[in-house]
């Protein structure tokens, strides 16, 4: 075997392998532009601005003063030249007056400018932080079923990207008002100073508007394409970094490099095209400015020659002409900003309008202490209408007792734990703790008295200490260490470089699954709740850690009411009682020995001889569920 496959690419470098791609082919961007004006979005948005309306009025006033000052400056220059410098009554005293007025106006201009920018900037920032917090806080209380359906990445882009689009909108709208006033002001002043000259000078404006209207949609396509290719190329880079071990293992370096080159080349072409569009307006604006100056020089100059116009007016015109195109430009930009903001606003308010599924009763109780007796009475429940997951389920668990829930996937085990914690409300029947319906407890109180250990032991970025305390405010270092010792996590924690102060990166990916499991046990222990709900991990854990976890579990359950969704035989056998579920109904309950003797579903599953019920292959499982084997 001297030839190895994998190198069987045909010759010819330019040909790409048919099955090879790098990165995702789909662009991540959500719809960027909406209608430029959406009354509903605006009015909802305004409700977030309203608390700051006093400051908004101040900013508006400042904008108007600022714009007024901007408009006045060329007029003062005009006055200085016409009255104080070239007229027959010209004198140094008049010039001094003009300069004094000039100084006053630019100082006012400065103050107004300062107030406007500062107030608008700060309020904009504040509103955006308010909005983001409102979304975040809202998401804490929306129905879990909504969160189940929602992609986290999408939600994050709303919390970050969409919110920023609104900030841009808010800041720009105030300055846009200034721009509009400036534009109207310049037109009015020019027409007032000399109607004929004003009209002729303004005649260039329609050309600019037409060119810009033709340019805008095309340019937008080019800009968008550039953005898309950017995100695609960067996505491919990110993939290349994440997958580097697989790439090297499979020897895909050369192929991937060529494919990445394709993407980078597309990106380059798109950017060159977009740069062309971005610059295309420059000569147009410059040419039109030149034409407008030309009109002022010829027409204005002739009028001055004929003594029909003061020279100062002509100079003032030259100043206005140079300022003229700025507001037009910013206003067209503002149009795109508004479209983006409306699309973003819609997405944000969609989130804020997701109803809160479950809220506390007004007289909800928050007992300091509970015993931990649990009763399910005739509970029927499902996630989709007419498709109940649990059907008339009744059972009770006495305080201090541990019950194992056993059954195939989809039999309703997880739903039982979710209902106990009131993540959802029952359709029919009732769930009660210490004889009181869970709907009569405050949700926070349920959180305090029920500790949950989930299948995937989720850890937060932060130190190990913080993760073990989690929400238990006031837990001391001793409490945390004691808990860690009880569950057997103390030793490995101490072996880490910073012990309990070790920072977990990327949600604890630097720890093994078993270790993360032990930390989540410690977290539940510190929370010291009377009821413990445990969804045992199905993932395969090596036998060493497995043993540690079993020991930790038995210590954790001591003195508490335990409901365990169990997968491992060792766990199941350790329980005081086993409840066997099938298709949303309880089919058997009893101790391990009793159930084995009974020779029902549990006995059949047990007879298959797998250390974990999850290891049972589908076919065998199907047979076991179907009924007793014919022996």
């Amino acid at each position: 075997m001297t030839t190895l496959s994998g190198a069987n690419q045909p010759d010819g470098k330019t040909q790409r392998p048919p099955r090879a791609v790098v990165g995702s082919q789909i662009s991540m961007d959500e719809e960027m532009f909406g209608a430029a004006f959406d009354g509903r979005v605006i009015s909802r948005f305004l409700s977030y601005v309203r608390p700051y309306r006093g400051r908004i009025y101040v900013a508006l006033a400042a904008v108007l003063v600022f714009t007024g000052a901007q408009l006045t400056i060329p007029l003062i220059i005009r006055y200085a030249i016409d009255e104080a410098i070239v007229s027959d009554r010209a004198s140094e005293a008049l010039l001094m007056i003009a300069i004094a007025v000039f100084a006053a106006v630019i100082t006012v201009n400065y103050a107004a400018n300062y107030i406007q920018d500062r107030v608008v900037g700060l309020v904009g920032e504040q509103v955006i932080f308010d909005l983001r917090r409102a979304m975040f806080a809202h998401l804490q209380h929306v129905a879990l079923s909504f969160m189940d359906k929602t992609e986290i990445g999408r939600m994050m882009s709303r919390l970050q990207g969409d919110v920023n689009a609104l900030q841009e909108f808010l800041e720009n709208s105030i300055t846009a008002i200034g721009d509009l006033v400036l534009l109207v002001g310049i037109i009015v002043i020019m027409l007032t100073l000399n109607f004929e000259l004003g009209l002729l000078t303004l005649s260039v404006v329609p050309t600019l508007l037409i060119v810009r209207l033709i340019w805008l949609p095309r340019a937008r396509v080019a800009f968008r394409r550039a953005r898309e290719t950017n995100s695609i190329t960067n996505g491919a880079l990110a993939e290349g970094i994440h997958a580097v071990r697989t790439v090297q293992g499979m020897g895909r370096e050369r192929v991937n490099f060529e494919l990445y080159d394709d993407k980078a080349s597309e990106n380059l072409a798109a950017h060159l095209r977009s740069a062309k569009y971005a610059q295309a307006m420059v000569p147009v604006v410059d040419t039109l400015t030149g034409a407008a100056m030309g009109v002022v020089v010829i027409v204005g100059g002739t009028l001055v020659l004929d003594s029909a116009l003061d020279i100062g007016v002509m100079i003032a015109f030259l100043f206005y002409v140079q300022r003229f195109f700025d507001p037009i430009r910013s206003l067209t930009i503002q149009y795109s900003v508004m479209q983006r903001a409306m699309a973003s606003g819609q997405r944000i308010f969609e989130v804020l309008e997701v109803p809160l599924a479950i809220s506390d009763k007004p007289d909800a109780v928050e007992p300091d202490h509970i015993d931990g007796d649990i009763t399910f009475r005739d509970v029927t429940f499902g996630y989709t209408k007419n498709q109940p997951i649990l059907k008339n389920v009744s059972f009770s668990v006495n305080h201090g007792e541990t019950v194992a829930l056993v059954g195939p996937t989809g039999s309703g085990k997880t739903s039982i734990t979710a209902l106990l914690h009131r993540f959802y409300d029952v359709w029919d029947g009732s769930v009660s703790i210490d004889g009181r319906d869970v709907r009569d407890y405050a949700k926070v109180s349920l959180g305090h008295h029920i500790a949950m250990v989930l299948q995937d032991p989720f850890l937060f970025t932060g130190t190990i200490f913080e993760n073990i305390c989690y929400r238990t405010a006031g837990a001391t270092r001793e409490d945390v260490e004691r808990a860690a010792k009880v569950v057997g996590a103390h030793d490995f924690i101490m072996r880490l470089r910073d012990g309990y102060e070790t920072v977990l990166e990327q949600q604890g990916r630097n720890l093994s699954l078993g270790q993360r499991q032990l930390l989540s046990f410690a977290r539940a222990l510190v929370a010291d709740a009377k009821i413990l709900v445990l969804d045992e991990a199905t993932a395969n854990i090596d036998s060493y850690t497995e043993r540690q976890i079993q020991t930790a579990l038995s210590r954790l359950l001591k003195g508490r009411t335990g409901i365990v969704i169990a997968h491992r035989l060792a766990t199941i056998r350790g329980a005081d009682r086993i409840i066997v579920l099938q298709q949303g109904r309880i089919v058997e309950t009893g101790t391990h020995d009793a159930l084995v003797a009974k020779n029902g579903l549990y006995a059949r599953l047990y007879a298959l001889n797998y250390a974990s019920f999850d290891d049972i292959p589908d076919e065998l499982l199907r047979d076991a569920l179907a009924g007793p084997a014919n022996t």
């Binding site: 975040f136 970050q160 971005a278 140079q322 395969n540």
Partner: protein, 634 residues
């Protein structure tokens, strides 16, 4: 802020696939040591940009021309004003001539404006283009480099950090050309030529017109640097806030389970407040600097109007000349204010550039020996000879001690041991993902460090425990190592890996999109894809690194059966903590703390009654009478 945890090693660089791109041009040499590190980085960027000579020449020429035509406008306006006014006063020239002069001035103004616009376009377009071309070169070089750097590098440097370098730092370098360099040329020309014109016309008035330039330049640069610091700080805070939100949403079940919503909101508020403080600080800094700059500009204008007005009153200056000064100030306003951007672009380029070049200049720790030839396979015998290994980093404890074993074609070796005993390290040493720190590894008598990496990795295939699924169709994921494969080959591989049954149930079958943005597969399904991937390729050495851990025992058994044909042609190493997966191996070694403590066949090891036998007892049900759960606790 040059946090470079990726520092360059000494020695020449192997440019790899991107060698034709020549981004190593101007890599810092001894001569550069005289410059500060920043200057060296900037010079290197310039040298890279100079590879596009024609565009650079065009851009610079256009920049100078644009400045020239821009500066023509104030004198033309001044002449027009004097024409309209002066002739009216003394009447020395005929009215017709004056009108003709006005038309001529207007046409010149139009011409100068058109040319200014055209040259600005050429300047900006080429500036941007050079930046993007440069970015393209660097992008490819960066990608190539990351693909060739060894596992030890990727272990050490966080993926997020590398992505940042490849995105943001690359942008920082790209923007240097247009926003930094060319703008500097433009500004130097505008101020230089303009100052010459104005100062030679009227020294005092010229100085007054330019008076705002130094103040604004200083103010805008210092503000920019401060804003940049604040921006970086804000980014960091926002990233922290983003992380809190992200983890909250990902871990929402934990949050709800613990009733920790108020705590989470508190945590959010604390982070948001910190970000808000910096955001406010940033706005205040920005506003106070921009507004004071505008003020300075108007003050200069007022001074020119005042002193110039006095000159005109005295009769030593015409209104036209005064207009020249006033319009000149207007022209300078925008570019001078942008000086801050320029300073920012330069500062950013030098930090970004140094971070990017630090990666590009790295030499892969694992690379072909100078005289390396392809691996020559004969008997397919793998030998570990007293191999020791410790991961890079000071004081890192050794992971393997003096490990020796042999596997031959058609035979298999099982490796078992507690977590952290060094099992996976063996899998990583054979394809040279890492090099041993002691001893040697040979295949058919050749030290694997003496053959080319490509030929070695073609011969040695590792099936990982946690394989990466690409966002692509299932079939293309299976064919990852052989992208020319036809459909039949893929189906065969899928059936060997026992995933064909699952694929048939999918609505789009083999065309189903999987990976991050497609259908998500369970751990066991992923592992079966990885096995299928490996069986697409014929390998001389096959290593299963706990690659059936999430697959049920029954299926695993069937996979083992169907893999038999493949294993006959290869030396196979099976690493597992589940003994069922490796009990049939020809030899089994028990690894503990990096040492082989037991070895032999399953039967021999059971008979010995050592650690292996104990583990076997633990894993079989027969010995499971006393329950370790509740009640058994001490």
């Amino acid at each position: 802020m040059a946090r470079s945890n990726a520092t360059a090693k000494e020695g020449p660089n192997t440019a790899g696939l991107a060698s034709h791109l020549d981004v190593y041009l101007g890599r810092s040499t001894a001569a550069d040591q005289r410059h500060s590190a920043d200057t060296a980085v900037l010079l290197r960027i310039i040298r890279l940009a100079l590879r596009y000579r024609v565009r650079v020449a065009l851009a610079v020429a256009a920049t100078v021309a644009a400045a020239f035509f821009q500066l023509m406008i104030p004198p033309l306006l001044g002449a027009a004003v004097d024409n309209a006014l002066g002739l009216l006063r003394d009447g020395s020239v005929g009215a017709t001539d004056a009108r003709a002069a006005l038309i001529q001035a207007a046409l010149l103004l139009l011409g100068a404006s058109i040319l200014r616009g055209a040259f600005t376009l050429i300047h900006n377009y080429n500036g941007e283009a050079i930046g993007h071309l440069l970015a393209y070169d660097l992008r490819l070089a960066f990608y190539d480099k990351l693909q060739s750097l060894s596992f030890s590098f990727h272990d050490r440097v966080h993926t997020g950090e590398l992505i940042t370098r490849g995105m943001l730092d690359l942008d920082g370098v790209r923007m240097f050309v247009n926003t930094g360099l060319l703008r500097l040329v433009l500004l130097a020309n505008l101020i230089g030529i303009g100052a010459y014109l104005l100062l030679s016309t009227d020294l005092i008035l010229g100085l007054l017109s330019l008076s705002f330039v130094p103040f604004v330049a200083w103010r805008s640069s210092t503000a920019r640097l401060r804003l940049r610091t604040l921006w970086l700080a804000l980014q960091q805070k926002m990233a922290g806030l983003g992380q809190i939100m992200d983890e909250n949403l990902t871990g929402i079940r934990v949050v709800r389970a613990f009733g920790a919503e108020p705590y989470e909101i508190e945590k959010y508020d604390a982070a948001a407040d910190e970000a808000m403080t910096i955001a406010r600080e940033r706005i205040k800094t920005r506003v106070s600097s921009t507004t004071i700059m505008t003020y300075a500009y108007f003050v200069a204008m007022g001074l020119v109007l005042w002193v110039g007005g006095l000159r005109v009153l005295e009769g030593t200056m015409t209104v036209g000349t005064l207009t020249v000064f006033l319009t000149f100030i207007t022209i300078l306003q925008a570019p001078v204010r942008q000086l801050g951007l320029l300073v920012n672009a330069i500062a950013r380029a030098s930090t970004c550039g140094s971070r990017l070049f630090a990666v590009l200049d790295l030499q892969p720790a694992i690379d072909d020996h100078d005289s390396a030839g392809p691996l020559d396979l004969t008997d397919g015998a793998v030998r570990f000879e007293n191999v020791s290994f410790a991961y890079a980093g000071e004081g890192a404890p050794p992971v393997l001690h003096d490990v020796s074993f042999e596997v031959h074609r058609g035979k298999s070796l099982g490796i078992v041991g507690p977590p952290g005993s060094g099992k996976s390290t063996i899998a990583n040493l054979l394809p040279r993902y890492y090099d041993p720190s002691g001893g040697r590894i040979t295949i058919d008598g050749q030290d694997i460090r003496e053959v080319t990496v490509a030929s070695l990795r073609q011969a040695v295939r590792v099936v990982q425990q946690d394989p990466f699924l690409f966002t692509a169709s299932l079939e293309n994921n299976i064919a990852y190592g052989d992208p020319w494969a036809d459909y039949g080959m893929i189906q065969d591989a899928a059936s060997v890996a026992q995933i064909d049954g699952f694929v048939d149930l999918l609505p789009d079958g083999y065309g189903t999109l999987v990976g991050e943005r497609g259908v998500s597969l369970s751990g066991g399904q992923k592992q079966r894809v990885a096995i299928a991937r490996a069986t697409m390729l014929r390998s001389a050495v096959l290593i299963f690194d706990d690659s059936t851990a999430a697959i049920d025992a029954e299926t695993e058994q069937r996979i083992r059966e169907s893999l038999k044909a493949h294993m006959e042609d290869a030396a196979t190493i099976i690493i597992s903590h589940r003994l069922g997966a490796l009990r049939h191996a020809d030899e089994i070694v028990f690894l503990e703390a990096g040492r082989i403590v037991e070895r032999g066949s399953h039967d021999v090891l059971i008979a010995e009654g050592g650690r292996y036998a104990a583990l076997f007892a633990l894993q079989s049900r027969g010995n499971d009478e006393e329950s370790p759960a509740k009640g058994a606790a001490e």
